[in-house]
Amino acid sequence: MSYRYGVLLVLVALPLLLSSQLPVYSVYQVSVSGHFGSANYGPIVLPISANFNRNSVQVSLNLTGLTGNVNLVLYNASEVLYNASGAKVQPGGPIISKTKAELYSNKTFIGGKYYQAITLTKEDGAGNLTAVLYPINGAKGVASIIASYYTLPPSPAALPVSLTIIGIGIVWIAASVLTPRRTKK
């Protein structure tokens, strides 16, 4: 019974313990705003110029300065990713998964509210996002799109599992150190 197996268990579980203690924070965030004026009844285009080279992007919608409602369409370059008036996914190229598009389709965003983190899962990780807001019911005021991605949170099981493995490793080391060794005659 070698103490080295115990050391191996502890060392393999340590990164898992470390991951469970790391904070979740926004790695990158970009915010763009547009103004619906009295003369502007058409849609406004908000280019989110950052290249979100990630599998998922979280998009929040700040409509606290807006009266009326809006519909949102997100494009990846020229391709429709998520269409609020019906899931429309272009064939080929980087796309948002159909499941997510259907989940958020036919949704009207109401003015005066803040919509948090609509997660868009892309089929592959590339593309510039562009948001287009369509005014409904005479929308007026400022609308902002905040796109961000966050550090990855590990499974909640990471802490108990890592502590269990480390515990087993420590017991193993203790047992192997305390077990009397046979001496050769």
């Binding site: 191996l8 340590l14 991951s19 599998n55 592959d124």
Partner: protein, 255 residues
């Protein structure tokens, strides 16, 4: 305990002296922490996402696995041949074939098992419901087939020159040559000539699957059939080099 098991135990103790195994296991377990800042959502993964995920998560662990192979073959087999230690071991009632088998188990198979097991806790922690174990098996198979070619070549060079340093240089040279050649081959492949790309993928099959999953752009997409057959060809090339090293050690190498 049979002579083979006793010899295997000695070889493992030699290759994994404290704290070699511990340091490598820790680094391999730590390597997937690079996923922390990826910011991706891995709740459920398509084949493409899963392959991209495992490439990110296991890439650094795979490189550490390669360093272990370099160390074990050049400082294990190569150095033993250089210093005449192999002669002493072969005074044991053990055949040359079994000697080489023990060296390969200790030098390559155990590091590969370490590469499969050590990063798993973090890989699972960051994608607890990924469920796409097929992509994980594929990534392991690609890594194994690509590195088998390097192992086979390093064995042959170590036997031919009886110098550990030369086999290390050969292994490093082949690895970096394969990486650079893949880069150049991709340049030509993007312009319509894929011959060089397919040829270099025998040494570096991961590029095939990266292209297959369109991570290099739609113009470089490779079909499943071509990717699978070239990966199998790469594995067969690795096996042929390993068999050649067995044949060489049994019949040709003068100790």
């Amino acid at each position: 305990m049979s002579t083979f098991s006793r010899f295997l135990k000695i070889t493992i103790q030699e290759d994994f002296r404290f704290p070699v195994a511990e340091i490598f296991a820790f680094l391999m377990a730590l390597a997937p922490l690079t996923l922390y800042v990826e910011g991706a959502n891995y709740a459920s993964l398509s084949d493409s996402q899963a392959f991209s995920y495992f490439s990110s998560a296991l890439g650094l662990s795979g490189f550490l696995f390669l360093i272990m192979i370099f160390k074990n073959i050049s400082f294990g087999l190569g150095s033993d041949l250089e210093k005449g230690v192999t002669n002493s071991f072969l005074t044991f009632p053990i055949s040359r074939g079994k000697y080489l088998t023990a060296k390969l188990i200790s030098g390559a198979l155990l590091p590969f098992l370490m590469f499969m097991v050590a990063p798993l806790p973090l890989v699972i922690a960051y994608a607890p419901n990924f469920g796409n174990y097929g992509a994980l098996l594929l990534y392991w198979a690609i890594t194994a087939s690509g590195y088998m070619v390097i192992i086979g070549l390093m064995n042959l060079v170590a036997m031919a020159t009886k110098k550990g340093a030369t086999s290390l240089i050969a292994g490093l040279g082949l690895y970096f040559a394969a990486e650079f050649a893949s880069g150049f081959a991709l340049f030509f492949a993007a312009r319509g000539n894929r011959t060089a790309f397919y040829a270099t993928s025998l040494l570096n099959p991961s590029e095939l699957w990266t292209s297959h999953y369109r991570m290099l752009g739609a113009s470089l997409t490779v079909s499943t059939g071509i990717a699978a057959s070239l990966t199998i060809a790469s594995a067969l090339l690795g096996i042929a080099l390993l068999l050649a090293s067995y044949a060489s050690f049994e019949k040709v190498v003068q100790l």
